[in-house]
C-alpha cells in the first residue's frame, strides 16, 4: 500500500522535473527560463522527500524525518539563488545594451534604475 503512494509521488515529481527541464530548454528568454527550475526545486523536491519519508518510515519503526532537512534547505536557498541570478542577468543585459523586458506597468512611482534611460546613462 505504501509502495503505491511512494511510486505515485516519485512519478509526479519526475513529471515536474521533466517539465522544468523542457521549460529550461524551450523558453525563449533568460528571464522566462529563470522560472522553470523552481518547479524541480520546490514541488518536485517536496514530493521526493515525502516519498522518501513514507518509504523509510514504513520500513523502520518510527518516523525518519531527516530527508525533510533537504527539502527545507532547498526551499530556503532556491529563491536566493534565483534572485541573485536575476539581478546578475539584468546587470549584464544592461551592460551589453540589449533589449530588456519592459518594467511592470501600473506602478505610479517608477524606479529610476529600472528605466532604459538609466541604463543608457551608465
Amino acid at each position: 500500500m505504501s509502495d503505491i503512494a511512494v511510486g505515485l509521488l516519485l512519478l509526479f515529481s519526475a513529471g515536474l522535473v521533466l517539465t522544468a527541464a523542457i521549460g529550461l530548454t524551450r523558453l525563449p528568454d533568460f528571464f522566462q527560463r529563470l522560472h522553470a527550475p523552481a518547479l524541480a526545486s520546490t514541488l518536485g523536491n517536496w514530493c521526493v522527500a515525502l516519498a522518501s519519508i513514507v518509504h523509510f518510515s514504513m520500513r523502520e519503526e518510527g518516523l525518519s524525518l531527516h530527508v525533510w532537512l533537504i527539502a527545507i534547505l532547498l526551499s530556503i536557498t532556491a529563491p536566493v539563488t534565483t534572485m541573485v541570478l536575476a539581478r546578475a542577468g539584468l546587470f549584464r543585459r544592461r551592460q551589453a545594451g540589449d533589449a530588456l523586458p519592459p518594467p511592470l506597468g501600473g506602478s505610479s512611482t517608477p524606479d529610476a534604475t529600472d528605466t532604459p534611460a538609466a541604463a543608457d546613462e551608465r
Binding site: 522544468a20 527541464a21 527560463r33 522553470a36 542577468g89
Partner: protein, 92 residues
C-alpha cells in the same frame, strides 16, 4: 519492493536522466553566462533528487548525506558564480 514501485523508480530515473540531458543541452548552448549558471544549478538539483530516488531504490539511508552535500554545494557554487557575474568578484 513491489513491482509497481520498481517500475516507478525505473521510469523516474529515466526521466531524471532525460531532464539532465536537456539541462546539459542548455548548459552547452546557453547564449549568456547566466544561462549556463542556471543550467548548472538545475543539474545540481536533479542530481540531488536522483540521490534521494536511489536511496529508495537501494533501501539505504547512506544516500542522505551526499544529497545534503550536493544541495549545499549547488547553492554555494551558484550563489558565488552569480555574485561573480554581478560584481566581478566573489568576496568584496
Amino acid at each position: 519492493m513491489s513491482p509497481f514501485l520498481s517500475t516507478a523508480i525505473t521510469i523516474t530515473l529515466s526521466l531524471h536522466a532525460l531532464a539532465m540531458a536537456l539541462g546539459v543541452l542548455r548548459l552547452l548552448r546557453g547564449p549568456a553566462a547566466q544561462d549556463r549558471v542556471l543550467a548548472l544549478d538545475f543539474l545540481f538539483t536533479v542530481a540531488m533528487l536522483t540521490m534521494l530516488v536511489l536511496a529508495i531504490r537501494y533501501d539505504s539511508s547512506m544516500y542522505f548525506e551526499p544529497a545534503l552535500l550536493m544541495a549545499l554545494c549547488g547553492f554555494v557554487s551558484s550563489l558565488a558564480t552569480a555574485k561573480f557575474l554581478l560584481r566581478g568578484e566573489v568576496i568584496e
